[in-house]
Symmetry: C2
């Protein structure tokens, strides 16, 4: 299933969709992909199946697979849900976090701070993921954690772009501190509210960016 070759094809196609090399509606021809990745059709078909499962492709019986790049509307909808899920994670974490987990959360946030001091946006990106991962674990609901991770992953490639927007990193860090504070205080409502806002701001900034790009950036 997640065999070596099939995974390679899956990730390869996923990457090409994210980078825009494969555009919306493009046909995912099995034979071409097989040739391109130097494997047979079997692992290609497995990869396509997973792509359909992840919502990155559509399948029409007896007609083949087609890229289903998310529209702007889709992205806005996903950010709306992401903000709810992140809020829920933070809310539950505020009630359920352990002392060790809190320490790890703080450490992760220090990591973010260091990345900003080093002006390293790639590092910040990874430390930011660590920070949120701490909250997912602390929420005490692994199903929720997985769903949130999965959605984060789908928004990821766009997010990475987003963080390079001028002045966003320090603002994001400020929000992190507020979230930590609320969680430490056990203030579930506050943790929820700030976290939602944290995601929605990114969503809105992302939206701005897209519009800007479309106008000819």
């Amino acid at each position: 299933m997640s065999s070596r070759a099939a995974t390679r094809v899956f990730q390869g196609v996923e990457e090409q969709i994210a980078t825009g090399q494969l555009k919306d509606g493009a046909k995912l021809d099995e034979a071409s992909l097989a040739e391109r990745f130097e494997v047979s059709r079997t692992p290609v078909r497995e990869a396509l199946l997973q792509l359909v499962g992840s919502g990155l492709a559509t399948q029409i019986p007896k007609r083949g697979c087609f890229v289903k790049a998310p529209s702007l509307r889709d992205m806005v909808e996903m950010f709306e849900v992401m903000s709810e899920l992140e809020g829920m994670c933070a809310r539950l974490a505020a009630r359920r976090i352990s002392d060790e987990q809190l320490a790890e959360l703080k450490a992760a946030n220090v990591g973010c701070e260091d990345a900003i001091k080093a002006n390293d946006s790639d590092l910040y990106y990874h430390k930011n993921v660590d920070f949120h991962e701490c909250i997912y674990i602390a929420c005490g609901n692994s199903f929720l954690a997985n769903e949130t991770r999965s959605l984060r992953r789908r928004l990821q490639s766009f997010r990475r772009l987003q963080l390079r927007v001028r002045g966003r990193m320090p603002q994001s860090l400020g929000e992190h501190f507020e979230i930590v504070e609320a969680i430490e205080a056990g203030d579930a409502d506050q943790a929820d509210r700030i976290s939602r806002q944290h995601v929605m701001i990114q969503g809105e900034r992302f939206h701005d960016l897209l519009v800007h790009m479309e106008r000819g950036g």
Copy 2:
């Protein structure tokens, strides 16, 4: 992909997991399944891939697929998330519902009422799905709607059991009326709160039922 044979195998295995014929940890042997469903290994493997994707099976490389029936803890976690998603749908619907959609929602709830009057729990089950479907559509976020439907589907087979608990149907209907009222009034917070509660009650009742069954029902 969702080819005839593969889909048949997928749904067959899914059914057997839901009914408990295939228990947690049971090995999903490709050859046996192929024989059982009278197809070759190819569609069986596609079905297994989808099962893993849906979280109903685990895959260990070079060792095969195994049934991953949700534990009680998993179920509680899923209900927790379901309650959040349902709450979100209702909250957004309160803000975004159209007049026609509101009329449909009310009509669906009347359908539920009729089913109770006829004392037909199967009919109630379907009318209840219709009712919630109205809210999913009215929330104006199709991504959210799909995620919620998908989770509902996973909890479905258990829910069906749950609704037969004595006295639950009328109580459930009462909650429906409260939800409709809140949505009609545009009271997003109230719609959210009642909807969450609506799901959590089902989750708790379900939990009770499971414990009862384990003790020797």
